[in-house]
Amino acid sequence: MTPIRIAQNLSLPRRLAQTLACPAVAHWLLMPAFVWFVGGLFLDGWAHNHGRVDNTFFTPWHAVFYSGYAAVAVVLALLVWGSWMRGEQWQRDLALPYRIAILAAPGFGMAGVADLWWHTTYGFESGIELLLSPPHLALATSMVFICLAPARTDDESRSMGARIPALLSVLCAWSIATFILQFNHPFGIVWPAQTRIGETGVSVGIVGNVFHFALTGLMGGWVLARRFAPGSLTVVLVVNALLIALMGDEYRFAVGIGAAAILCELLDVLLARQGVTMRMRVVVRAGALAGLSAAGYYAVIAVTGVLIWPVAVCAGLCVLSAGVAAATQAVLEN
């Protein structure tokens, strides 16, 4: 990447505006803001799941969350200001993902106001209604658009260190998605340790497990297709597992998912050495990650507690998750 040369005779605001023209600067500025923003979301989720909230909108958890949003908004506003100072038009000259993020930021603010109105009018939901309320979905959608901007503008030819913000961006977007889908997340409700075969709960658990493990496999395929450094997938999945574990205090599953990710990364190195095409590797990784993360999940339950589901069902679900992820990955390649 060609470094941007900044003339020394420019005034400080103009020099700052020139510095902001570098995509890497925007990426690094957004990093701490994203940690604050998404950290606030999970802190709020933790408080809801542990009975630390009352029926008011103005809680300390919301304060952290919305101040994180303010930090992100300030950085995005800086980008608009820098663009204006350079005599450009942000609507035309900034990269499309950043333009979308800049539009999503006020969208998030409006969704926040709508959320306040919703809670004031309809009260405070709990459980699945809380996750699926329209203002909350609008908040989550805006968040995903904001957090994905660095990943979508990422250049694969950059050094590994320079791509850290893009990786954090992937982690944030993935964490928001899993947060919203936590109503049937296998790390939240551990069905294989709670229900016997033939009961309704088993079929409930099966759907949740296949859905989430297949989704995890697809995320793994996406990370590989973006050529992140070896180990990136493991970091994303383990950190995400720990964040989700905050909701139900089930930290043990981070070990299973971490082991699955490491095995997948090793498998991928092996396939690359054999000269397997990138396309095939992506499909294989998606399938392998889905199957292995399911296997790791059941293994962790068996080792640390009691696995009530029959081994045949667990093995079948590993195969099913792998098949669903690989097939979906193959369809999404076109």
Binding site: L137, G316, L320
Partner: protein, 294 residues
């Protein structure tokens, strides 16, 4: 495969798929005896074996000696499936359905069907099987979780668990619908195939559930999708998002008209929003590596 033999193969595949769906009917309605070696299982196994044997025969007689891994693999896996079921004993419960070799055998069969003719020049019958086998086959076999067979939205409320189950099943169905539609667009298959696929899944699910109320909705969804494809061929994303939106909103409209929606309004409205967002993501995402995309 030679042109003369294609109709025979298609017939075998459809027969096999039909038998799998009929097995699902027996599973859902508990009408079959609880033994593995029943006439129904026999017919399905025979059809499955014929598809595998026919492919093996074709491949062995073709010049260029194409791969025989799939047919041999299917025969081996199906054999292991039968052996395992015999050893364990079939209980007509989830442990039989989700036995790993059973899952693998069905997956191999469906995968073979979905790769028959992945090109725009395929005949309507070939394209219908290629694009419909996954949707019809997977939801036929997994009827226990199909939102068209087991309707959670008019039965359960209040309890997070079963509402969450219903929401996940509906999301999974929307994802499969959008992926199928996306594949028909990207392979530039002829018009009417998606409509045929939706008709096929509507009929197969109605047979399994004894309820035909969702068939009109699937036909309307198919017609709208095909309409947008003909009217605006470039509006690929729009057609997929509209397809998901019509199906989701139509699903709850059908429930409202034919029975009740037991879920909280927030839940089903939120689900529709989430499903439409998911369709948007699926319509936009590209999994290819960056250098290939360039």
């Amino acid at each position: 495969m030679t042109k003369m033999r294609v109709p025979v193969f298609l017939l075998l595949c459809w027969g096999c798929l039909g038998l799998l769906i009929y097995e699902s009917y027996a599973f859902v309605h508990r009408t079959a005896p609880l033994q593995w070696f029943t006439a129904l299982h026999g017919c399905t196994a025979l059809a499955l074996g014929m598809v595998a044997a026919y492919t093996l025969y074709e491949r062995l007689h073709q010049s260029g000696a194409q791969s025989v891994v799939w047919p041999v693999g299917l025969i081996v896996v199906a054999g292991l499936d039968v052996g395992m079921q015999w050893y364990q004993g079939s209980d007509y419960l989830l442990s039989s359905l989700l036995q790993p070799f059973h899952v693998l055998a069905i997956a191999l069969l469906i995968w073979r069907m979905t790769t028959i003719a992945d090109k725009p020049t395929a005949s309507y019958g070939e394209a219908l099987l290629t694009h419909g086998a996954a949707l019809i086959g997977v939801w036929g076999v997994a009827a226990t979780w199909s939102p068209l067979v087991v309707v959670y939205a008019d039965q359960y409320s209040g309890g997070d668990t079963l509402v969450g189950q219903g929401v996940t099943c509906l999301l999974a169905f929307v994802v499969s619908l959008v992926l199928t539609a996306r594949r028909t667009i990207h392979t530039n298959v002829q018009h009417g195939v998606m409509l045929g696929v939706l008709f096929g899944i509507g009929v197969s699910q109605a047979v399994v559930s004894d309820s035909w109320r969702f068939l009109p909705l699937l036909l309307v969804t198919g017609l709208c999708f095909e309409g947008i494809r003909m009217w605006r061929p470039q509006a690929k994303r729009l057609s997929l998002i509209v397809c998901a939106a019509i199906w989701l909103l139509g699903y709850f409209a059908t429930l409202h008209r034919t029975s009740i929606i037991a879920w909280d309004t927030t839940t089903w409205v939120g689900l529709c929003v989430l499903g439409i967002c998911l369709a948007g993501v699926l319509s936009a995402v590209r999994m290819r590596p960056q250098e290939e995309r360039r």
